[in-house]
Each structure stands twice: as C-alpha cells, then as structure tokens.
Symmetry: C2
Subunit: 320 residues, 2 copies
DNA sequence: TTTGATCTGGCAACCGTTTGCAAGGGAGGA
DNA sequence: TCCTCCCTTGCAAACGGTTGCCAGATCAAA
C-alpha cells in the first residue's frame, strides 16, 4: 500500500540507495538527481518507515517519558513541553505512567530498553542504585533526582523550601507542620533536609504521604492537632487536601493556619483561597530533559532550574 | 549488546525460527524445547526487538493518541486510562498534542501513519471530511465526534446539557448564557443543539471561545452584561474562568449568577464554590477507545457513554 | 592526451524477526 | 513390516532501509 523507497527508486529510475541517501545524506547526491527523487517521493506520498530505519541504524527516533502519575496536574505541562520539544527534533514520545509503583517503574524501563533511544525518568520512585543499574541498558535523563554521573534536570527545591520557610517565619509562624511526600521522592528528602536545618523553627514532620489530595486530606486532622500554625506541603495537591480537611473542621486558611504548597498547578491558582506555593519550572524541565537526552553523549550534565515562591492568599500572619 | 533471537538460539542449540515460534506461536514447539528456550531467553535477558517484528508483520504494537491539549485537565485521566489499557495489551502509546491547531493535528496524523497500528483521535478540530480522508491511511478511533462508518467513543453531551438546563430551570432560571467552545468541537455543537430546542428558556449564545480559563475570563463581562442569571459553560475550565471574572466584578456565584460546567475536572472539585458540572466519563472513554481500536476490524462500532450531572455549590436559586 | 582526484550512483550485505515450505522422526494402523 | 500422518524443527526468503565499497564519469591540471 504505502510507498516504499523501492517505489520511489523505480519511479525515477535510480537505485534505492540513491533514494535513501537523498534523505539521510543529501550532500552525497547530485542536486539534479536529488530534486527528481524528492519530487517523486512527494508525488507518491513517501514517508520513510521508521521501524526499518531503526533496524539498521539502531536509532528509533523514539523516546520514553515515564512519570509517576499522568493525572497529577504537575506532570501534564512537563509532558506537553517534552513532547513538543521532541517533535521539533523529529522524535516521538511514548508516555507511560507508573502509578507511583516502583516495580511498575522498573518493568516499564525494561520494556522501553532497546525500543527507544532514551528515557526521561521523571520523579522516579526507584532507588539510585537500581536506576544506575538500569541505565547500563538505556540512556536516561532523570528529572527531580540527583544521581552522580547521570544527566539530570533538577529543580531547586532547597531554595524554594527555604524561601517558603522564611516567608512563614516572617509572618510570625514558629511551629510548622511539614507534610512530606511518598517514599523514594528526592524532592521530599530535599525539603526535609532544608527544614531540619531551619534555625529557630519548630518543625513537626508528617509522612510519608500519598502525593495527592487524598494524602493531604488524611493528615489534616493530625496537622490541626499538633498545634502548628502553618503547613509546608509536599505539593499543591497535598496542600489543597490539607486545606480541604481543615475547612471541614471549620479551621480557616489562612486565618488560623497558613498553607504553602509546591508545584504551582492550575487547581491551586483557581482555589479559594488562592494557594501560596513554590513554583516548579515544569515546562522548562520538560524541554531541557529532551535536549539533554539528545545532546548527551552519555555525559552526565546536570541542570538545576530555579524555583520561585509565589505568595497568594493561603498564607497570612500567625495568630497570636 | 542486547541479546537477540540468534543469541538465544545459539545458547540452546536450536534454530532461530524455533526461538521465534516459542514466543509468537508456542503451540508449534515441543514443550521440552520451549522451556529450554524460555530458560535461555530469561538467562540472557532477551527481549524481542519490536522494530524488527514490525518490519515483517506490519504491526508495530504502537498506537498514537492525539489530544487537543495535554495540559487541559480533561485529558490526563483519559490519557492515563488509555495508556494503562494499552499496556495491558502489550501496546505502547505515543501521546501528542495539537495545541488546538487543526493543521498540527493533520500533520501529526500524517506522521503517525504507518508508524502505528492505529490512532486515537480525541476531541478533534479537523473537519469530518478531512478525518475520513486521513482514515484511509491509518485506522482511527475518534473520541467526542460522530463520523459515519468510523469507530467512535461518544459522550452523551446532549443528555448532560439537557439535565443541566433542567436543573437550572428548576431553580427558576430563565435567561441563560451558553458559553460555547472552539470552532470544530463536536461537543460544543451538541450543546448548542440541545440548548436551541430547550422550551421556555431564553438562551444567549457566546462563542466561539478558547476552551480554557482564559476563554471564560474573557467573556465574563459580556455574560454579566447580558442579564442572564445562569451560565452553561463549554467545560469546567471555561466555567472556572467565568466565575473568576464574575467574582472580580463582585458578582457572587451562585448568589447572583449560577454556573454549570462540563467535564468534572479536579480544579472544579476543589474550587470554592465547588463547581456544579456534567461529569464526562473520560477514564471509561480512554479504555474504550483502546479496546475499540484493537477489536475493530475497521468496523465502525460506536459507543456512547453516559454523562451525569453533579450538583455542587455553583448553582442556586435564581434571584427574583 | 594522459593522469589522478573528485563526484556520483550502483551493488549487496546486513539489521532482528516472521513465516511458508519441506524434511526428519515417531507413532499408529493395516 | 510398511505406509500414513502428525509433530517438531530447520531453511531461507522476505520486510524497508542504510552504508561500506567499488566503478564509471567528469574535470582540471600537467
């Protein structure tokens, strides 16, 4: 049905290799021949078969993008950006979802191995050791995880957490609840690291938690009970869940308790009160991850992107 | 590097064809041999090369999923469901985003043609005619669009719009603003069709609009000015935008104006006031679309999924 | 006119799997 | 004992491109 390189060759009386070269090494073919071939190809609607090309060259022009949860609003902008960037480089993107399960993550990577030119691993839940082992079989770029020698796109969570804490301290909060994320999350560790060193603050840790609204909802009561006047949540979804839970207990945000999230997702922007949050550069990260994957000769370049505290309505002065 | 069928064959002293058959037609090989082969394959970490398989069989075990905008919260659950369903059938999913641009949509489809076994086309912006033409080159399942002879997953938008309108009428609303979506949206047409036939209601149409918060925000002033006491919006994002705009004008929802959306996305559930909306079965649609694509011998089965009005806090009695 | 360098394009092997065809072996019936 | 028939396996030709190698042509310089 579909035109192959052979049809094009026949149509303009040249050998298949000439057609092949017109596309993959144009400088090796005479301009006159080249344009004849291009015309014939265009005429027949020829599109090179990627599977066939992959077979000989070993390059598929596909990449895998693995995220913890597609439905978590943090990821879609990242996926979108990565997809768009990849398409500009003639790459197709397989998107897959681990449902926060490290075993699914591993299996997914194994499935992708040798079927793609590289994998973008976003917010992995696997251990560093495991990721390093898997990286022997397929090039990786990790997002939101620092692994030595491996290309990575990091977001400056530490700085973000620091400014959030300073913001809260500046509003007079001392006892602050830190609602962390799931086990295996680098982001969560970074936050805890910064918080643990924060001077003059009285931190109460809650975790691990599901990185969802449900996760936030589930700890809301404990948070309220612990006497904290402010909450720093693992992400916006958790923050929103906490607010939801608090308001069900008739606890006002920010009047009685202030809440800060992470990510800057749409629901947070639309929420009442509008969520104060540390914006994560998801779009830039998606783009950058693709670039890194395509550039990297396997070199472990690490890019750290800045975060920014966005003060909205969910934080206010501590009640005295 | 990676083990091929040849390595496995050598490792257990059989011909490659036997190894091949162990995987693709197990009943044709002796159980004893089969287990020897499987052991060797497992030992070497053999995974069949999909590109090579695609070359001979003509089946790639890949499918394309094209949506208008990945970042629109309506799609991620659909994408997630489709991806998960596909993975269960050993399929990989290319996800792509048209940015609401029909030309990008067309180009994307062309790119996917012959590289995938089929395309899931969600909420297309292309004309029926164009889609039919493109369908000659690659199997489609369309979601949210009825095209004769083509497998489709539809959502019962008409019924949803009808119950929304009845709900509003029951609350005493007569003059209702209908804020529609983008050109080329079947959903938008369905809504308008139902609305146009609604007895005893005074409808004011606004459109076309971007299917985003910004789109809603942009018409909020006009909506307020037209004297309507209720709004039926193309989707939740638009509804949220309208609410946003109204509240900026100090117009209370639902006290002064009631708002109903479509989709039932997360931000709407978290919003204050919680959004009354017509829930669209995105998850079921994603799953169903995959099944339809895989089952269909090209037959044009059409599935219509039910919608459900979810009454929350953004609708109330009309002020008299 | 000869020489040699440079272009251009053909030839054919190869990438990893699948699959139609055929051959070898064993079992069962005559 | 011989003949079928079935089961199992091997053989080899595809699938659609890519690419190293080689040969003929072209052209400039000698």
């Amino acid at each position: 049905m579909a035109a192959t390189i052979k049809d094009v060759a026949r149509a303009c009386g040249v050998h298949v290799s000439t057609v092949s070269r017109t596309f993959s090494a144009p400088h090796l073919v005479n301009p006159a021949t080249r344009s004849r071939v291009l015309a014939a190809a265009d005429d027949l609607g020829y599109r090179p078969n990627r599977a066939a090309r992959a077979l000989t060259t070993g390059r598929t022009f596909n990449m895998g993008l693995i995220v913890a949860d597609i439905a978590n609003p943090f990821f879609p902008p990242l996926i979108k950006a990565a997809q768009s960037q990849a398409r500009g480089r003639d790459y197709h993107v397989f998107v897959a979802d681990t449902d926060e399960d490290p075993r699914v993550e591993e299996e997914l990577i194994r499935t992708f191995t040798k079927q793609v030119d590289g994998v973008l691993l976003c917010s992995p839940r696997l251990s560093n050791k495991m990721i390093e082992r898997l990286a022997e079989d397929v090039p990786f770029v990790v997002v939101n995880r620092r692994i030595k020698g491996m290309p990575a796109v990091l977001m400056n969570v530490a700085q973000g957490a620091k400014s959030a804490l300073e913001h809260l301290a500046g509003l007079g909060h001392h006892r602050i609840a830190l609602v962390s994320g799931p086990i295996g999350s680098w982001t969560s560790n970074e936050m805890q690291g910064v918080a643990a060193e924060a001077p003059g603050l009285d931190l109460v840790f809650f975790g691990p938690n599901q990185p969802t609204e449900a996760g936030g909802l589930a700890v809301a009561a404990d948070v309220a009970a612990c006497g904290a006047t402010a909450v720093l949540a693992y992400n916006d979804l958790v923050a929103l869940g906490v607010i939801e839970g608090l308001s069900a207990m008739e606890i006002g945000v920010p009047d009685q308790i202030s809440v800060v999230g992470f990510d800057d997702i749409l629901p947070g922007r639309l929420n009442r009160p509008k969520l104060t949050t540390v914006a994560m550069p998801a779009v830039a990260a998606g783009r950058m991850a693709v670039d890194l994957l395509l550039q990297s000769g396997g070199e472990g370049a690490t890019v750290t992107l800045d975060t920014a505290l966005i003060i909205r309505e969910s934080t206010g002065r501590a009640q005295t």
